[in-house]
Symmetry: C2
Subunit: 352 residues, 2 copies
């Protein structure tokens, strides 16, 4: 473990709703498994702070976040805050300011996990792919505007911004990941028959960067057709690369077919390591079940595994993943609380 | 059937790949069921014509199309034609020029049809909803552009255009459809927490137009979350209203969970009836199986039913739907050719 960090400065943003509950279990498992010295700083960001102070992400906090090795985030968002405020000024602001251009979302159906699909028929060989979603461009840039709001002549636009720089670094990262995998397949998802300007850029970039990776085979699917494949033949995918919005949509579907967003982990990664990367469950703050010990902390625990992997602690990451796999295999119909699930996985990972 | 047309001037665009095969069966069923005098004009549009003449949709042909009561389209698209050419210059051009602002896509799981979902568990009460997809705005307008193409500084944009005019007429149509249904539920799909300008417009319009339909209940789902519901609880939806691109994506998924795009019908509708509406299967031209009698004509046959319904011939539409339902219920694993399926449904619909 020569390249690994022996001390980890971790920023923790528990956030809203079930965020604090699931983050507590993620940290429990982290403590159980790692030999690194973990120094944690908790940041109170989200709906509570916005209501109390009107602040979303003060510049000084953003500056402090930069001084950490990684960030663990629970969930951001609350129905009492106007739509978009916390998303754009907090969650997306972190992704953009810290240049998290890779949004990495594995989709794996663990043994024993029930899928809404008739798996025996549509995915007899299992499901195990990863989505490399671009994180700093596309329709997420906040470009666009509105004119004559509230009148019969209202016009609202949203602009998808795609640069060769942004697309190329994402595509290269996706190829590099595909190269480390057994099947070495990369599928571009887009809609180039309609979104021709952006689609052309993405396609050409995949073709060109692909020359550097002759052992990786490539495929293409329109995003609409891809949702069909995700429902009828998800086993076909190995690595998917796509833009910010398409990635948002297909990773929720990918989570659904692999057992639900209670299990889906993600990393907002800066592969250049010039800033701390941020790891978070794909799910939201689920205010309807907050505070009841009902939330499944597994997605956060798997996000902690991704965090350790990113910090060069692959052995520890693997022990968490194995402990999660064992726990999932034995879950059956038993109802356990958030902390009971965390305890069980922490104990197994500690022994691992 | 007092309001119905006694003569129907039908424009037929069979198109590419399996288009001609499935259209032949659609027309067979139409002939079997209708008492109207149908005058057909076939238009040779698509890949063949483009290769032969470079033409996609000559202005004179577009003008002729306008003089019909309805259009039946098979499928457009071929891998030998550069991406986007036939889509934008032919298919989308018709939708835009004829102001087909409602793209109507029913999603119904017929008894006997196998779904990739574990239906007994995730949709015990069946699946029966309809998507009202906006058809003339959103990211489909062709707005956008590219700069410094082919260089490291390339920039490509796509602009989603949303007007109060365009959104309102779509939303009002969706409410009116919801009002005729048993559950009277309308769900808006968007992504207003990120696409705030357009999202705000859509949300506000649903709220405001909803006042005219006090008996219709409304709900909202982010498009990413909606893909989860479509996989885990599709029975929850009654009428969905959404923009052009989100509608494109979720209707393919909706088709997948209700038995595949071999069964999914659609109408490109101008509810004001100032132009002919166009009916087409959701599937593409499937060049890999073209000419082999393997294509399922059911989606086209159901599109013919939508066409008749639109022309005020609801009884005939219903006879087709019942014949299709009966055929689907008895299909089992028997392999039948495209024309055998058409023959069976035509015979049943004729007796109806
Ligand atoms: C909360 C929202 C802004 C976010 C996104 O759209 O990226 C979420 O859906 C996600 O996928 O992480
Ligand atoms: C072929 C393509 C332009 C079209 C669309 O995107 O609308 C198709 O996917 C559809 O759904 O009818």
């Amino acid at each position: 473990m020569s390249n690994s960090a022996e001390t980890v400065n971790l920023a923790v943003i528990a956030g809203d709703g079930i965020g604090p509950e699931v983050v507590a279990e993620g940290l429990k498992v982290l403590d159980a498994v790692t030999t690194a010295k973990v120094a944690r700083t908790e940041y109170d960001l989200g709906a509570r702070r916005w209501h109390a102070t009107g602040e979303t992400l003060p510049d000084s906090v953003l500056q402090e976040l930069r001084d950490h090795d990684a960030i663990l985030l629970g969930a951001i968002g609350d129905p009492t805050v106007p739509s978009g405020v916390l998303e754009r000024q907090l969650l997306l602001r972190i992704r953009f300011e810290l240049d998290h251009y890779i949004n990495l979302r594995p989709a794996k159906l663990f043994p024993g996990v029930s899928s809404p699909l008739d798996v025996a028929r549509v995915a007899p060989d299992g499901i195990d792919f990863v989505v490399v979603r671009e994180g700093t461009e596309g329709p997420y840039t906040g470009n666009g505007g509105a004119l004559r709001v509230g009148t019969a002549q209202e016009l609202a636009t949203e602009v998808s911004v795609n640069t060769r720089f942004g697309v190329e670094r994402t595509v290269r990262d996706a190829f590099a990941r595909a190269q480390t995998r057994e099947r070495k397949q990369l599928t571009l998802l887009h809609k180039h028959n309609v979104l021709s300007y952006a689609g052309h850029l993405w396609r050409r970039t995949v073709e060109e960067v692909g020359q550097e990776f002759p052992d990786v085979s490539t495929a293409y699917a329109h995003v609409d057709a891809a949702t069909i494949y995700l429902a009828t033949d998800p086993g076909r995918f190995d690595v998917i690369v796509t833009d910010n919005l398409f990635g948002d949509i297909v990773t929720d579907l990918a989570a659904a077919v692999t057992g639900g967003i209670g299990l889906a982990a993600s990393g907002n990664i800066n592969p250049d390591r010039t800033t701390p990367s941020m790891f978070e469950p794909v799910h939201g703050s689920a205010p309807d079940i907050a505070g009841q010990g009902k939330a499944d902390p597994t997605a956060t625990i798997l996000s902690v595994a991704m965090l350790l992997e990113h910090l060069g602690r692959a052995d520890e990451a693997q022990r968490i993943e194995q402990a999660v796999a064992a726990d999932l295999a034995g879950r059956g119909d038993a109802v356990r609380s958030t902390s009971q699930v965390g305890d069980a996985i922490a104990a197994a990972a500690a022994q691992g």
